[in-house]
Each structure stands twice: as structure tokens, then as C-alpha cells.
Symmetry: C2
Subunit: 308 residues, 2 copies
């Protein structure tokens, strides 16, 4: 690690939130945002981290309007814009996936024209998604600031994080902003380049900034049929030190992978919640209302380190 | 300086190019790109730094089309995508200016709601311009990669650069890409935040990466009436160590400021050319064709360090 190994925060980090790519984009349409879900998630995030008046912080041109649509002069200093310390990290969904998989940018090899062009194309796609998410959050009054991992000096070695500027993330939080990072195409010291996933970014930031809890907002974390149940104590087949509250009939490989990523975070002593985006359950998780005893009617997956 | 004080490049940096905000945007219309100029400048940049076939590297959705419009499968490994080492830095023009000036984000004071909101709004605006410029360059076959100074850990102290991750800029170049930076809203250690101009970024990168020459592409660097003349040797009123080839009837304060910024770069021993964007003169400057004796018919301003 070149940078960011010791980065104290003035105020502790409350939460890292992952916005799953599939939850905020339309999976089957190239570069299409799921506006409804993104708006709902943005409102939930504001409710979880802020109180008081809503100040629209996206003063850029909107598609339907020729000029600024925000009443900037109405922003008085009576309004306080305090937010608790959150970090947002989002996936790519239908942004970046086509470009990366078509070019093989995740496998490296920048001497190949297709990989090099695909690397450029992938970064264009994921940064355009980041911009749209930052704008959506800013419109809801969240002082969001985009931090692109490539720009922030995140690199990998054999696809593990080799360098990362977590100092900038910490300074951004300390200045009262909400950093918004994303899965990105980055340089890799062994194979030239790769794709750094949002989940790996979260684990790395969690290790250094020690949030109280981490929430993964996914498209389908909960079986709508209500087939989830609380498994307590932890099943012996899982790591014994980690308590997992998990669905009985979870068949998706993606979910298992997600749980093992999350388990690595839980082992740091950080509670992890995996929950369907834009639901009452996700709002509860974001607010930290499932931090202690999990309510009986809460639907989602909780992963916790068991102190012996 | 926390980072990036010694950053060697495998191959020397040939040129840093500033795309003036006024040259690539429409000054009097909020967040409007000057498509014609941007396209012409992109073509010139490609001609100056690359040869061979053009590979479109912007695979994102275009406004007029629902799906990918690039023939990705046609990108064969017979095509070489070598470019000489350039860095592009652009200004803000009609992006960011409204947001920054309306909020006073350049004067700092993040405890004020208006400044905080304006900081968020400014970053949204300038990063959306950066994305458009990266896309325009990528469409012309330039392997451009956006690096946002805020994300790259650029901060200021009393509005001078306090930290900057030039290492990432260097690694990007060494990996065969063209970094595209921009004037940005950044954190300031004395006043909370400020606006870091593209010109200051260029001077800082030039100090560390020592380009052979620097080109400022402006909207109106040349008086169309042809009232420019070569002043040689340098007038006594200027720094005697710097030779300036300057217009006789330059009355713009902006131009004088630009020249003094440029003079600071020239003092590092780096030739600086200030020239009207999207002209034959700017193409000559970008190609380095005015590096030695300046052609009689070349219109622009050259600033050079005179070795005694």
C-alpha cells in the first residue's frame, strides 16, 4: 500500500452504502438508469443521513430546461446542511459492463488495441453513471462529491488493491461531503489493467475507515414470497465466527458471492446488511435501526461478527 | 507537497495542452459545448500525437441512437494505437463558472450552505464537461482518460497547490493513455475550499514532468486584423530572461495574466505557445513545428527562456 494506510476521521464513519448496479440501472438496456429506483434510494439516503430542509445542489442544466432550474438565491444561511458520515459506492449495471466484457479489459493486456480502446470506453461509461448518481443525490439535497477510483490513484496488483487514496475519501468526509465512488477500470501492475469492483473498494475503505455498518442495496436481496428466515446461531458450515441471517431458499450464485465478500467485512467487526433497494427494509438498514436486535418483520440478510 | 514530487516517466513528456474554456464552450449559454471547435481541436490533437487508423473509443450511447454505434468487432490487433506523450488540461468556460461565482466557492467557507451547495454544483458541472471532452477525444481515436483533480487528491493551501497526485498522471501516460484534467473545485487547507484553475494545474505538472513544450489553445489568441508582430529580443520591461513574441495590440487583461502564468512555465526552460484554437497555427504549435525558428507566417505568442 502506497497511501492511505492511516487515515483518522474527525468524526467516525457511520456507514458505507453499496448501490448495486442492477438496482439502479436497467439491466437489459445499454446505459439506462432505473430512474424510479435511483430516486427512491436517494430519498432513503437523505432520510438516513440528513434532517431539515432540502437544498437542491444540482445546478446544472436539466434535459427539459434550457437554463438553471434551481432557486439559488433562496439558499439562506439559516439552513444547515449537516449530514452524518456516509460513503456511497456504486456498481456499474448496464454501464461499463458491455465495454469491459466486449474488450476483455478485466483480463488486461493494454498492448492489444481492443483492450486499450475498451479501457477508455469503460471509463467513459462508468464515469457517466457516476455523474448521474451524484446528480440524483445532489438533487435530493445530499452534498455528494464524485471520486473516481482511477483518478484517486487506485491501482491493483494481481487484481488485489495495490494503492488507493483513502486520504482523499477521508478529507472529503471531514469537509462535510458524501464521497461517491464506483467500480472502475484501473491500472494493474501485473497485467496492465483490470476492473476494480465496487465490493472490493468497500472492503478496502472499511478496513481503513472502520464504519459502524455497511449496507448493500440490491435489486433482489429478498425473496418476495417471504421464504426468508432467521438462522441463529450460525450454521456450522459457515465461518463459525460470523452470524448470518440468511434466506432459506437463496439459489443465486451472485448472492453467495456477495455474502462471502460481506463476510470478509463482518470479520473486521463491522455489521453488514444486504437488503432489497428502495424498500422499507432498506431504509431501516440505512438508518441503523437493525443494528441491535433485528426486528422480526425485517427482510434482508445480516452478517455479524460473533465476539466469543 | 505530500505526493508526486519525484515522478519519472519511461518516455519523456512531449507536450501539455491547455484547452481554454472559452474556446471549447459557448461563453454566453449555460453548459453549452462549442461542438465545432471541440471537434476541430480533437482532430488537431490526434494529428499531433498519433498516426495510422482511427479507432473510435467512445462506445457509449449517443443522443441520436439507442444502442452502441461503434463497430467494436472491427477493432483488430493489426491496428497500433501508439500516441506520443501528451497531457490535456481544460478550463471550464460556461461550465462551472455560474455555479462557482454564484456561490462564492472560490472564496471558501464551507460552513455556509450556499458555498457548500455551490461546491457540489460546481463539481457536477466541471466533471460533466470533462466527460464530454474525454468522449470527443475518444471518438477521434485518442486514448483519453479523465482525471478529476479533486478525486486525484489535489488540494490547496492559501489557494496554492498543497498536494497533488502527479504520480497517477505519470502512470496514466506510461500506460499509453492521454490524461485529461480540468479546472476543479477543491479543498483548501486555509479557507475550506476554492477553485483550482487549469493554468495552475499545468504549471504544477510542468514543474514535475518537464514537458518539451506547452500549448495554450484559446478562443482569441490572435488578432484577426494581423496586428501581431515578433518582438525580438525581449522588451526590457519584461523579465529579461524570457523572450516573448507578442501581439502589438493586445489589450485584454486576460491575455496579460495568461502571459505571466506562461512566463512562469517558460522560466522552467519549457517553451510556451499561446495560439488561437482550431487554426493551422495551433496545429503547427501542437506538432512542435514552431519549436525552433518560428515561421514568419505563424500567428501566436511564443514565450521562451533565453539561455545566457
Amino acid at each position: 500500500m502506497e497511501k492511505g494506510t492511516a487515515t483518522p476521521l474527525t468524526k467516525p464513519l457511520r456507514c458505507i452504502v453499496k448501490l448495486g448496479g442492477a438496482a439502479i440501472t436497467c439491466k437489459n438496456e445499454l446505459e439506462k438508469i432505473n430512474e424510479e429506483n435511483l430516486r427512491a434510494v436517494s430519498i432513503h439516503l437523505r432520510e438516513a443521513m440528513m434532517s431539515g430542509e432540502i437544498v437542491d445542489m444540482d445546478w446544472s442544466k436539466r434535459p427539459e430546461k434550457a437554463d438553471v432550474s434551481v432557486d439559488v438565491d433562496g439558499i439562506s444561511d439559516q439552513i444547515t446542511l449537516e449530514s452524518s458520515n456516509f460513503v456511497v459506492v456504486h456498481g456499474a449495471g448496464s454501464f461499463g459492463h458491455f465495454q469491459a466484457s466486449k474488450s476483455g479489459a478485466h483480463k488486461g493486456g493494454l498492448d492489444q488495441s481492443l483492450v486499450k480502446a475498451g479501457f477508455v470506453a469503460t471509463r467513459i461509461s462508468v464515469t457517466s453513471l457516476n455523474l448521474e448518481i451524484v446528480r440524483a443525490l445532489a438533487r435530493e439535497g445530499i452534498p455528494s462529491v464524485g471520486i473516481s477510483p482511477f483518478s484517486g490513484g487506485w491501482t491493483t496488483f494481481q487484481r488485489n488493491v495495490a494503492s488507493a487514496d483513502v486520504t482523499t475519501v477521508a478529507k472529503t468526509i471531514d469537509s462535510g461531503f458524501i464521497p461517491v465512488l464506483h467500480g472502475d477500470a484501473v491500472l494493474d501492475h501485473s497485467q496492465g489493467c483490470t476492473i476494480l469492483s465496487g465490493d472490493v473498494i468497500i472492503r478496502h475503505i472499511a478496513e481503513i475507515l472502520k464504519p459502524k455498518y455497511v449496507v448493500f442495496l440490491l435489486l433482489t436481496a429478498v425473496d418476495e414470497e417471504g421464504s426468508w428466515r432467521v438462522v441463529n446461531p450460525a450454521p456450522k458450515s459457515m465461518n463459525e465466527q460470523v452470524e448470518i441471517t440468511v434466506a432459506a431458499h437463496d439459489t443465486t450464485g451472485g448472492m453467495v458471492t456477495k455474502i462471502s465478500e460481506a463476510a470478509a467485512i463482518a470479520k473486521l467487526g463491522i455489521d453488514v446488511y444486504i437488503v432489497k433497494a428502495a424498500t422499507d427494509h432498506s431504509l431501516k438498514a440505512l438508518k441503523g435501526e437493525v443494528k441491535g436486535k433485528i426486528p422480526d418483520d425485517w427482510m434482508g440478510t445480516a452478517i455479524r461478527f460473533m465476539r466469543k
